[in-house]
Amino acid sequence: MLRLPKFELCTPTTVAEAVALLAESPDAMIVAGGTDLVPNMKHELFTPSRVVSLAQVRELRGICRNADGSLAIGAMTSLAEVAASELVRAQAPALAQACSLVAGPQLRTMGTLGGNVLLDTRCQWYNQTYFWREALGFCMKKDGEVCHVVKGGKNCVAAASNDSAPPLMTLGATLEFASPRGRRAIAIDDFWVADGIFNKKVERDEVLVSIQVPKAPAGHRGAYGKLRDRGSIDFPLLGVAVRLDLDAQGAVEHADVVVTALAAQPKRITKLDAILRGQRPGTPEFEAAVAEAAALAHKQCKPLPNIPGDADYRRDMVPVYVKRTLLAASRGEGPVHHV
């Protein structure tokens, strides 16, 4: 078995305490469910001297509806709980579906929504043991200078691989952080940067407290599609979140599609709303618009061979999964997954 490097483990019970512990130690890291950090530490991708566990911080757990109808999901709420929550399933179906497809049952029980939002980017040249990476000569994301995905590449293109990010983007979610400087909120749309080395606008000393999901209109439909090799365990080879808001007459009032696992940050398919707006699901016109939207998504997505698997195939699957996920959302179904 790979050994976990030695570190000091702190188990605060309040957010304030966690923030203080984090501030004390310049290389401290947070562990939530540990499903991302622990293997990464075993691979010596991170070697923090202090790890601050949020497991005992009660205020970070749970899902509740705010007075304005929006949802507040504690960052430490397990993915399994989010997936099973009646509130989330009703108000944010794409998010519930995405959480139900993260990894496998054991990992969803340990893994948290906050941890998934903050998941480190992934790459076949990076998520390997120290021995393996040393034999390679390392890569620019950790310990090295070059990128092996694109020969002569100057940017890290490790892939955003969090299933929860695309649905949260379609839902217009906000992330709330605590730090020694107080609290701040940032729209998840503004949270990402196109850098695989670190694709998030978050400071080392900030603790993600909650994810706020605004109240969706009555005609809201959402779905998530996930491409992966196996029916469980695997990270996405492609993730597609869809939002369709239907008006009182059942026509599309607003459409949004965000894809992930292709590049360093999740990607919104642009100009898609115009194609789908006004169409009524179930009509041939809607189906034609879906096909057009799928073709548009294909044009906008050009994945690189960053994560394992055939990059051309992942690109081929963009229109297929966009189409299927749009259709699933329009019917109030989903997730789109091969098993």
Binding site: L2, N127, Q128, A135, L136, L227, D229, R230, I233
Partner: protein, 793 residues
């Protein structure tokens, strides 16, 4: 005289006719029983190698080569040795003697001497007070390498001899080459009504047992080395340790603890076994080494990638006239079992169909990748895949039903193959009947709707081989029985239970033969100090050979028991029957003794009570060089029908059902046989659809972890329907043959054939990834209008 006749006195139930399905009046055999170690495994009480903790035990770790091919210029271990907590550091010079599981090809060192041959090749080992200290010491070892050109493409190794991966060989980078021809193939193909010629590719895959390799060694003040190791061949590890450590074998004891899966991946002697032994000798402390999952991927010995070219001819009525094969085998960096693999790639194809003529030309080359070796269905799964797809192509050309063409070419039972192998019982036709019936082949084929189809394939496999890896005429399997006055019978067997249930099998046989309950039998296995030699768990030999040896030992013991009771009762021995914990007089049922009383009588009359039994194969094999490799005392036969569909938008294959009919001779425990059949089919589908063991452009393993090496989960696994066929082999124990490897073979070609039936694409290059399927579907679509034009012309 058949080997079976060599057993002691006959079975109490009298002789059975070969081919007879009657269960005679077995009390234990043929019924489902728990495995003897089932509860221990289910409750976590079973002791695996890594569970062993000894006082003062040190932990060892291996430094591995970061280069695919390099000379070692210099190694400096002084800083590692100086680290607090480090007890010993060894490098290749500590054990310069080369070894190899096949005695003709010793090309491995416990730790690299002078050069490294793949990324992950072991270079040095450290023993320290704990794993972290050992790992820290590894980082202090300085190694200076001189890089050499590395070979990743076997085609290059075929034509380029320099730099040689193994120096001093006149064949350059060719590991083994075999050309054999039986009959005039060219003439036969020239005279065929139809010939199909095509190329196939079988990729690499690995065993991925749940338990990683682990070994623990102690060295006593008297100079006795004891090694506990997760091995499937205790005897060869014993021999290899003696050779490499240059110790007399009688001072070495090898014990296999409970094993967490092997599938062929624990057949070779491995670096860690020598290292812990040497480190224990140097330090005088117990030493353990547990490999990481990544290290297991580097140690590998899995399925050889093969480039296969086949040409087969048939008459108008579908009878094969000749088969011609040319195979390039990617062996990776060491020989391992490669000599056998190269022969097996040709020798094991000559059933269940009659080949009037046959030729194969197989060449195994070295590359700078983790070494390949035996994985479930060693050497024969790859050619079987190619040939069974080609047989479907022939059937298509001849407009024959794929099951029908297989029936028409059936070789028959009690026959001889074109390459001189003796075939005894052969239930292949029944296997075809069973899968045809159970799958609803006639009613459902062609009527499953778009994108869904059925495919069939057949195969045969050995139940052990008469070729012991080192030449000798001693028994291949030995068993010893010891009777305690409490009524307990202890079975000592060198056989390795690797989860296939061989210890349970021994217990069932003893219970049957001596008429005692299973709970009064204990099995002590795979301990070279205590158990008679058995050649180990490979080539599907254990049930056949150890089973026969157990029967032999039981009958000798039974003779004494019967004689003692007959004397007491003053009756003919034929009236004495051992049954269900009792000894009864068949003619006077009022008279009976308990088994324990009978044991006491026999011990009083004779001596300390026990017996030995053994099995050796009869003389087998073709009369030519290599003719005994693949010669088995009995062959198992299998047929599969696979029901699969294709999502034509994504290229993803879904397997709905697999019907597996397997002729195992007789199912000694049908529950375990069915488990082996399902497990085999699972492993076959896993290779076909998910798993890929390969290196990237740097020679680095693509993903040496259970995240990146995609073992199918329960969600990815279809229904398996095990259909047991019993041909009752005249030489197997109660007629039994193997069931652990044969049932894997037809899975891959049957899937390929099902996909052809479903969507009209021939998948000839494994694995069948969605990307490949999609590409094939597109190619078909693009060529469809052209083909239509061609048809018009």
């Amino acid at each position: 005289m058949s080997a079976r006749d060599l057993h002691g006195p006959g079975a109490p139930w009298g002789p059975h006719e070969p081919g007879s399905k009657a269960n005679v009046d077995f009390k234990v055999v043929g019924r489902a029983h728990a495995k003897v170690d089932g509860l221990a495994k289910a409750t976590g009480a079973a002791v695996y190698a890594d569970d062993i903790v000894l006082p003062g035990m040190l932990h060892a770790k291996t430094l591995r080569s970061p280069h695919a091919h390099a000379k070692i210029r210099r190694i400096d271990v002084s800083k590692a040795r100086a680290l607090k907590g480090v007890h010993a550091v060894i490098t290749g010079d500590a054990m310069p003697m080369k070894y190899g599981v096949i005695p003709w090809t010793p090309d491995e060192n416990a730790l690299a001497v002078d050069k490294v041959r793949f990324i992950g090749d072991p270079v040095a080992a450290v023993a320290a007070i704990d794993e972290d200290t050992a790992n820290a010491a590894l980082k202090l070892i300085e190694v200076e390498y001189e890089l050499l050109h590395a070979f990743f493409d076997p085609h290059e190794s075929l034509v380029r001899a320099e730099p040689a991966i193994h120096e001093g060989r006149k064949e350059g980078n060719i590991s083994k080459s075999v050309q054999l021809e039986f009959g005039a193939v060219e003439t036969a193909l020239a005279g065929a009504d139809v010939v199909v010629e095509d190329d196939y590719f079988f990729h690499g895959s690995t065993h991925a047992p749940i338990e990683p390799h682990c070994a623990v060694a102690t060295y006593s003040p008297e100079g006795v080395l004891t090694l506990w190791s997760a091995t499937q061949i205790t005897h060869y590890v014993h021999r290899a340790l003696a050779r490499v450590l240059e110790l007399p074998a009688h001072r070495i004891r090898v014990i296999q603890p409970c094993l967490g899966g092997a599938f062929g991946g624990k057949s070779d002697p491995f670096s860690l076994e020598f290292c812990v032994a040497k480190l224990a000798m140097l330090t005088g402390r117990a030493v353990k080494m547990l490999w990481t999952r990544e290290e297991v991927f580097y140690a590998h010995r899995g399925r050889h990638p093969m480039y296969l070219h086949y040409r087969s001819g048939a008459t108008k009525d579908g009878k094969l006239t000749g088969v011609d094969a040319k195979i390039l085998i990617d062996g990776g960096s060491y020989s391992s079992f490669g000599l056998v693999t190269t022969y097996y790639s040709g020798q094991l194809l000559t059933g269940p169909y009659h080949f009037p003529t046959y030729r194969f030309d197989s060449t195994r080359v070295f590359t700078n990748k983790p070494p390949c070796g035996p994985k479930r269905g060693h050497g024969s799964v790859q050619p079987r895949f190619a040939f069974e797809v080609q047989l479907d192509q022939l059937a298509e050309k001849l407009a024959l039903d794929p099951i029908e063409i297989r029936r028409r070419n059936f070789q028959g039972d009690f026959t001889r193959t074109v390459n001189g192998q003796r075939v005894t019982s052969n239930g292949f036709l029944q296997c075809l009947d069973e899968v045809e019936r159970a799958s609803g082949w006639k009613a459902r084929r062609g009527k499953l709707g778009p994108g869904r189809g059925l495919g069939v394939a057949g195969s045969m496999y050995i139940s052990g081989t008469n070729y012991p890896v080192y030449p000798n005429d001693m028994p291949q399997a030995g068993v010893q029985l010891k009777v305690d006055r409490s009524g307990l019978v202890t079975v000592f067997t060198g056989g390795n239970d690797i989860g296939q249930g061989s210890n349970s099998m021994c217990a069932y046989i003893v219970a049957e033969e001596l008429g005692i309950p299973l709970e009064r039998i204990r099995v002590v296995a795979a301990d070279t100090d205590l158990c008679p030699v058995d050649l180990g768990a490979y080539s599907s030999r254990v049930t056949f050979m150890v089973g026969n040896a157990t029967i032999d030992a039981c009958r000798k013991l039974r003779e004494k028991l019967v004689a003692a009771v007959a004397e007491k009762w003053q009756c003919a021995p034929s009236r004495v029957r051992l049954i269900e914990g009792l000894v009864i007089d068949l003619d006077d049922t009022s008279r009976s003794l308990t088994s324990v009383e009978a044991f006491h009588l026999a011990e009083t009359k004779f001596d300390t009570l026990g017996s030995t039994g053994s099995y050796n194969t009869p003389k087998l094999g073709g009369d030519y060089r290599g003719g005994t490799i693949g010669a088995s005392p009995a062959y198992s036969f299998t047929a599969h029908v696979v029901d699969a569909s294709v999502d034509t938008e994504t290229g993803r294959i879904t397997v709905h059902d697999v019907w597996i009919a397997h002729d195992c001779g007789r199912a000694l425990n049908p529950m375990i046989v069915a488990g082996q059949m399902e497990g085999s089919a699972y492993m076959g589908l896993a290779e076909a659809l998910y798993e890929e063991h390969d290196v990237n452009r740097f020679g680095l393993h693509r993903g040496p972890s259970l995240l990146d090496y995609r073992l199918p989960t329960s969600l990815d696994t279809p229904e398996f329907r095990a259909l047991i066929v019993e041909s009752i082999d005249p030489e197997g124990p109660y007629g039994a043959k193997e069931a652990g490897e044969g049932p894997l073979h037809p899975c891959l070609p049957a899937l390929s054939n099902a996909i052809y039936d479903a969507v009209g694409i021939r998948l000839k290059h494994l694995p069948f990834t969605p990307a490949k399927v999609l590409a094939a579907l597109r190619a078909k679509q693009e060529s469809a209008p052209l083909a239509a034009q061609g048809g018009k012309r």
